[in-house]
Symmetry: C2
Subunit: 141 residues, 2 copies
Amino acid sequence: MQENDVYRNLLTQKGLRITDVRVKVLEILDDAESPMTVEDVFTCLRNMMIPANLSTVYRTMDVLLKNGLIAKTTLLDCNKSMYEYKRVEHKHHLVCIACNRMISLEDCPINDEYAREMCRRQGFELTGHKLEIYGLCPKCK
Amino acid sequence: MQENDVYRNLLTQKGLRITDVRVKVLEILDDAESPMTVEDVFTCLRNMMIPANLSTVYRTMDVLLKNGLIAKTTLLDCNKSMYEYKRVEHKHHLVCIACNRMISLEDCPINDEYAREMCRRQGFELTGHKLEIYGLCPKCK
DNA sequence: GTGCATGCAAAGTCTTTGCAGGATA
DNA sequence: TATCCTGCAAAGACTTTGCATGCAC
């Protein structure tokens, strides 16, 4: 149960109660290679014998998101929200325009100076950024 | 009617029929300073005395999008689709995380080499990219 | 005149909410 | 025990679709 403790601690640190659903959702998203939809997580929970209600999953995502434990993304050709475990401040993806497969990118080519300059010009206070690179994945080429 | 001719020509070039709604939607999006929701465009049409049905506006967006005349975006904290006139191949935005105000950016800090390299590693064929910079706008600071 | 575009209404999908019962601290 | 979490069902928001009518070419 060593890994579970990580998620339990995260929840405790944020002043959130520890429940099976929350711990498992964090675990699922942490293990995922790319962002997941609420439906994906819901199905995953079922398979792990933790049959949570769909609305509970939505509420869980909301709580984890508001507490900064996960991140939210939306794809161009898909109106669903996607969530992923928050490892770093921001995250970038490679997205297949045909099948919507997403691959997370580790690198970040955006230097803060550029973002800061854009914000300065418009009087914005910089908080973050998101980059998506689109293409056709090997299967869809 | 000189400007309208631009939109009429665009439609004709794509083999699409010219209708009041299509021409006006292109004009509205072209005049807009930032991406608009379907609802925004719908209201705008009403004000211009071209009372189209909401579903017609959705269908119009779809046709214009599929023919590459407009571009689609989705914001992080808003599940609505946003559309804008397609002036260039890709588009970047400054987004206020509080009020969702969007400002289009002209510059592009992403060099194709970076995007191409990321694609090469994963076997993707590059088609484009999207960058959003998040912050707090002057009114929301 | 033919084929595509539109209006209208209905349905579909994703997400949110109210309330009562149950679990956590 | 008090508070927060969950399940269930209903509603809400955004979007899509079927069909008959109307318009562009």
